[in-house]
């Protein structure tokens, strides 16, 4: 527990240091306009990261979230282009598509005992294709760039008091609810148990398959929420929307301290991670480095964080077993004498 606290403190102080450095290089960084935008960026990734965190706690991975964003955004665009349905009617349908896709992932994983990575990589490709197929096309068959004019849809991605984006508010609300759910309900406990020791969880009467299906459904839901906010903010959506976003999401969750091995981590961490990542990306732009280095930096951050986590864990484990074994040897030597 205290290890987690230390980790958070390190992360936050790192964020402060980085902010200070960026601010020194570019005074525009500390303007409220930039900070609000930075939070907006973080929120888009963060909403997906919230669902992804639950998946990772069950020791799973969801490579399809970026493609879910693309497909659900295309669903929204279709409604906007071809129907007169009001937002309160079609947005729930869009969200439902995300849920169905998530359930499909969970179903394949639990029913056929398939590796999560392969399943979601497969659905990622399928969904990217579907997004292209259902994209709005012009008479020549080219994908058309639809401009969203529906005011009520644009409401999602717009700013509110203090210039804060509604995306950020949604991010915080979703995060807080998920965190409380995770820590205080029986289902939340079951999610941790299923990831930490699935055999023991099943022996205790937990239906781990149901838990796993549940987290993928939630991950799909979060991705479709993100799709609505992103497309609303951009006032358009292309079928490539969200593709590759899973890297940013994985980075956020890993930085936040959720382990690939499952059984540990929480939403707070991933939320911090998403902000950290947005800060780094924003900093790269503000300092004036080419934006092309962003993927290099993100990949580097993921690998570095995992290396730090693993070596730290190994070190502390080795230390613990060593001292325990020493104690054991001493006491048995004592009893033998």
């Amino acid at each position: 527990m205290s290890g987690q606290v230390v980790r958070r403190l390190v992360l936050v102080s790192l964020m402060i240091v980085i902010s200070a450095l960026i601010a020194l290089a570019n005074p525009f960084f500390l303007t409220s306009d930039n900070l609000v935008k930075l939070l907006q960026e973080a929120s888009q990734t963060g909403i997906m990261a919230i669902g992804f965190t639950l998946v990772m706690i069950t020791a799973g991975i969801d490579m399809s979230i970026g493609a879910i964003v693309a497909v659900t955004a295309m669903v929204s665009i279709n409604f906007i282009s071809y129907t007169k349905l009001p937002v309160p009617l079609f947005v729930p349908i869009t969200l439902f598509v995300g849920v169905v896709v998530g359930y499909f992932n969970g179903f394949l994983i639990t029913k056929f005992k398939l590796p999560e990575f392969i399943v979601t990589l497969g659905t990622k490709s399928i969904l990217s294709g579907i997004a292209l197929v259902i994209a709005v096309k012009d008479s020549m068959g080219f994908v058309q760039n639809v401009y969203i004019q529906d005011e009520s849809y644009l409401w999602f991605g717009s700013q509110t008091f203090g210039g804060i984006y509604r995306t950020t508010i949604a991010f915080v609300i979703l995060g807080v609810i998920t965190q409380l759910f995770l820590k205080n309900t029986r289902t939340g406990t079951n999610i941790y148990a299923s990831g930490a020791n699935p055999v023991a969880a099943r022996l205790s009467g937990i239906n781990t398959d149901r838990v796993v299906r549940g987290v993928y459904v939630f991950s799909g839901f979060c991705a479709s929420v993100a799709a609505i906010f992103i497309s609303s903010r951009m006032m358009t959506a292309m079928p490539e929307l969200g593709l590759g976003q899973e890297m940013d999401v994985i980075a956020s969750v890993v930085i936040g301290g959720t382990s690939f091995n499952g059984g540990s981590g929480d939403v707070w961490g991933s939320m911090l991670g998403a902000i950290f990542l947005a800060l780094v990306k924003n900093g790269i732009l503000k300092i004036g480095i080419s934006p092309w280095v962003q993927p290099i930096v993100i990949g580097g951050i993921i690998v570095t964080t995992v290396i730090i986590d693993v070596t730290q864990k190994n070190l502390s484990e080795r230390h613990a077993t060593k001292s325990k074994l020493k104690k054991l040897a001493e006491t048995s030597a004592g009893s033998a004498a």
């Binding site: 527990m1 205080n184 309900t185 029986r186 289902t187 406990t189 079951n190 941790y192 148990a193 930490a196 020791n197 055999v199 023991a200 969880a201 022996l203 205790s204 009467g205 937990i206 059984g263 540990s264 077993t321 060593k322 325990k324 074994l325 020493k326 104690k327 054991l328 040897a329 006491t331 048995s332 030597a333 004592g334 009893s335 033998a336």
Partner: protein
């Protein structure tokens, strides 16, 4: 519903039989546990203990026979969950707790107290109930502590509490003291006795006979899948149990072997070798062509010693010399110097199941097969044929996948990998577990012929007749130390088991002094 006549019997197994496609593991076993008794189940490795436990707990199905629990007849097939709901709890050797959670969360996993009409866990109540349970049994635990911070012994207590919270009436403990210190074990014994006072029955399985002796109200002895005897409290004595466990084997010369005097130069010399927590102060010499048997209970440090000698694990202090020179073990150096290893877990560590016999033999001999980095298919195949011929591997098809071979032939394959090389020393760990008699004999012959060719052998085995038959000398390890060395004397399985269990009798002492 039928009723069992005896009301103080909690569990009764009648005529249980079980075979795993072929070999009979349990043969007409009658077994019963009374209410509120500590009952021990003993037997050598392979006697059928774990199979019987698996059947009782629902982890395996029986072929025939009845099981009665609490005067109710249980179905032919049932799940672990079913057994648990009846009140049969198992304290697993590989502990089944969830790391990252508190003691209270683990005890009441999936049974947490909730706020009325919600799915929200009442944490206060959860912690309080757990603490109450802890205090009722006066365990030195705090319900809000994380599992990760507990020692193995404390985790066992949590498992016991979990069982108690589910109103278990039978608690099964499988080698619970194998990773406990003396002090922790004593505490566990106190708790086991307390459970008995509460009217809970405990089924205790241990290789450590002094524990069985100290704790049990009754002892059931299994041998070769049959119940040999059920001893009452006053009949229990360690030497009686050992006598029953080993029995009178068919021919006397199967049991008694004279260990011949060893000659030849010293190949391997180990001095005061210590690896903290694994083994302590191990010293011995190994001569050319000698077969040195290493006996002892599981967990006595035998496998760990072999791993250190081969260079897989590091050691903390002591020296090793090989062929007269100081030896720093490493796997690569071992292979180059002609030291081979037949590891304990054949399927996991010995073979590549999805690869052919040829590739399996080739992989250990890449220096020969692929001298410049490219595998010479012809050389590899030639080597494979040689190995197949040497060890009579069946089917004699070099393209057969290793995983499809029988256990005996897989083990021969593991041997073949080394026999096609020039060996000086081979370390063999449990070579014949789960292998049929015929293949066993063949493997024995190969080990003997290796020794005749001047290869030194270190043979770790729990199979006592195997040790007595093959060895020139036998070291017995106990809790990581060499507790006895048998050389140039008459050796029996019984002597080894007594030493391994920590029972030294005057007769043995005289044997040694007389020599």
């Amino acid at each position: 519903m039928e009723e069992s006549d005896n009301s103080d019997v909690l569990l009764e197994c009648k005529h249980i039989a079980k075979s795993y496609n072929g070999p009979i593991v349990l043969d007409n076993v009658d077994f019963s546990i009374k209410r509120g008794e500590i009952h021990s189940l003993v037997g050598e490795n392979g006697a059928g203990k774990s199979t019987l436990i698996k059947i009782i707990t629902g982890a395996a199905d029986r072929n025939s026979g009845e099981i009665w629990f609490n005067r109710t007849k249980l179905p032919m097939q049932y799940t672990r969950k079913y057994a648990e709901n009846l009140g049969i709890a198992v304290i697993y050797q590989e502990l089944s707790l969830i790391p990252g959670m508190t003691i209270a969360q683990n005890i009441y996993l999936a049974k947490e107290p909730l706020f009325p009409r919600t799915r929200i866990v009442d944490k206060k109540k959860l912690n309080a109930t757990a603490q109450e349970l802890i205090e009722r049994y006066k365990f030195p635990l705090k319900s809000t502590d994380l599992i990760d911070t507990l020692s193995i012994a404390q985790r066992q207590l949590v498992e016991i509490l979990k069982a108690l919270s589910q109103n278990a009436s039978l608690v099964i403990m499988d080698e619970p003291t194998s990773s406990l210190t003396q002090k922790e074990a004593e505490m566990l014994f106190g708790i086991i006795r307390m459970l008995r006072q509460e009217g809970i029955s405990v089924l205790y399985i241990s290789h450590r006979l002094e524990e069985v002796y100290a704790l049990s109200d009754r002892v059931t002895v299994l041998r070769d899948g049959k119940v040999v005897s059920v001893l009452g409290k006053e009949e229990i004595s360690p030497s009686e149990i050992i006598r029953l466990m080993i029995g009178h084997r068919l021919e006397d010369n199967e049991v008694r072997h004279s260990l011949p005097k060893v000659k030849g130069d010293v190949v391997l010399e180990v001095n005061h070798l210590t690896s903290i927590g694994k083994f302590t102060d191990i010293s011995f010499q190994l001569h050319r062509g000698e077969i040195l048997g290493v006996g002892g209970l599981v967990g006595s440090g035998r496998t760990e010693l072999v791993r250190v000698l081969y260079g897989i694990d590091p050691f903390d202090s002591g020296t090793i010399s090989f062929m007269g020179n100081v030896w720093e073990p490493s796997v690569r150096a071992s292979i180059n110097a002609g030291i081979g290893l037949i590891p304990e877990e054949r399927r996991l560590q010995g073979i590549l199941a999805s690869q052919t016999v040829t590739r399996n033999i080739g992989i250990t001999n890449l220096d020969h097969v692929a001298p410049r980095g490219v595998v010479q298919k012809k050389t590899e195949k030639k080597l494979a044929y040689e190995g197949i011929r040497l060890l009579n591997i069946k089917p004699s098809n070099p393209d057969a996948l290793a995983g499809t071979l029988s256990g005996g032939n897989q083990q021969k394959l593991v041997l073949a990998k080394w026999l096609v090389r020039e060996l000086q020393l081979i370390l063999i760990d449990e070579p014949t577990v789960g292998i049929d008699i015929g293949a066993k004999e063949e493997i024995y012959e190969h080990i003997k012929s290796l020794s005749r060719q001047g290869v030194s052998v270190i043979l770790v085995s729990s199979d006592l007749p195997e040790l007595t038959r093959l060895s020139n000398r036998v070291l017995v390890l106990r809790k990581g130390r060499i507790i006895r060395e048998f050389k140039e004397c008459v050796i029996t399985s019984e002597k080894i088991l007594r030493a391994a269990s920590g029972i030294l009798e005057e007769q043995d002492e005289k044997d040694i002094i007389n020599k």
